[in-house]
Amino acid sequence: MKKSAAAKRGPQPRSSKAGVERGQGGRIHPVVIYPFRQPGDNTDLEELYRLVARLDGERGKYARPITVLDRKTHYANADNRRFLEFRKDTVARHSDILDAWCVDTCQMWYTGLGQAFERGGPEDVYWLIPGDFNYGAAVGREVLGRLHDLPEICLELQQDVCIGEIATDHNNSKQLIDTYGTFALLYNWFPAEAQEIRQYTERPRSEFFAVRHGFLEDALRLRWFAYEQTVVMLLQAVFGNKPISRFFVGNISDLPEGRESLASAMQQVERTERVLKTLWRERQPHRTGWTERYRDLEEKSEQVRRTALVILENLLG
């Protein structure tokens, strides 16, 4: 389809003219997570990097963007001329590429946010931008035009975390995982905190978020889990009574390459349970009788997980 001139220009950060001038406040550090699997065509990535190019052009407001690229992705595409050209001509031109060996996406976050943190200052905000979404579609461009609200909300309203919420239909696999897996497990292990989190968002595993420097510093120094890190960050924010905001960024669907199979959905539920168990245990070191309470919660957690897996099997299998 022929694109209109407006579509070619892509999403414009709304506040560009009224942006944060350096010296007046913190800067925003965009951290792009390059897709683990190189997509079949570059439409979505081209749209994303049009935004990154504009951010890179506003140095007063934004720090030099960082792109985290897994070495496995690089080597898997070592003979892919389109990938190599895109990397050199677009990604490297508009961002600093951070090549890293990562076990999972959350480690890519850790690497990228950690690098950005070391470049940042106390007033700064860090903005995570996942690369594997359909930004090239009309709804994706709309989302790209709204994502900048997340770090701006952190700056303007002094929020420690701002979560971007994506609307999906009820049968979307991510929605199903969160409804029957994530929240059910959260209510088991951290019932009070789960209620607090749900007052803000239905998507506690959202990959769209922005965090303030001080909170990121705390989060980086705590145990960093290799998965479901957004859930952990939200729990840490609730534990610490940190200001949280949620902002609707639009309707979007994952790229086909990233859609969950039943096996992937089951794995995500199991990972969430593992993270919550570990986090719960870490918070009990000085409490007497915690092991008995742990066994009780673990038994209930197993029931919750099994129920979630049956439901997911019925709906996704």
């Binding site: 506040s15 003219k17 942006g19 609200d149 909300i153 309203l157 002094q158 949280i244 905001s245």
Partner: protein
Amino acid sequence: MNLNRNRYGAPQTLRSMNFICNAPQAQSVCLVGDFNVWNPTRHPLRQGPDGAWSINVDLKHGHHRYAFLVDGVLTLDPRAQGITRNDKGERVSLVPVS
């Protein structure tokens, strides 16, 4: 809380924003937010023939926290784009103004 909003926004940029609260049984509805210092007398809504209450307010560029006071009860806007908390720790709505 010391808000930095004005440092980042463009104070000269005003945009008319329409707020609608569907509360047909209510006796009074007011709009409160950072922009009117949470003063319930500043922006009372008017009830239309369909029972919904509405008001147009000129807001500066940036992100604003707000809520409806429905018969004196702080109420979130279900149509809002975001949720946050006010200085009292109450959950309130969030509106972006571009």
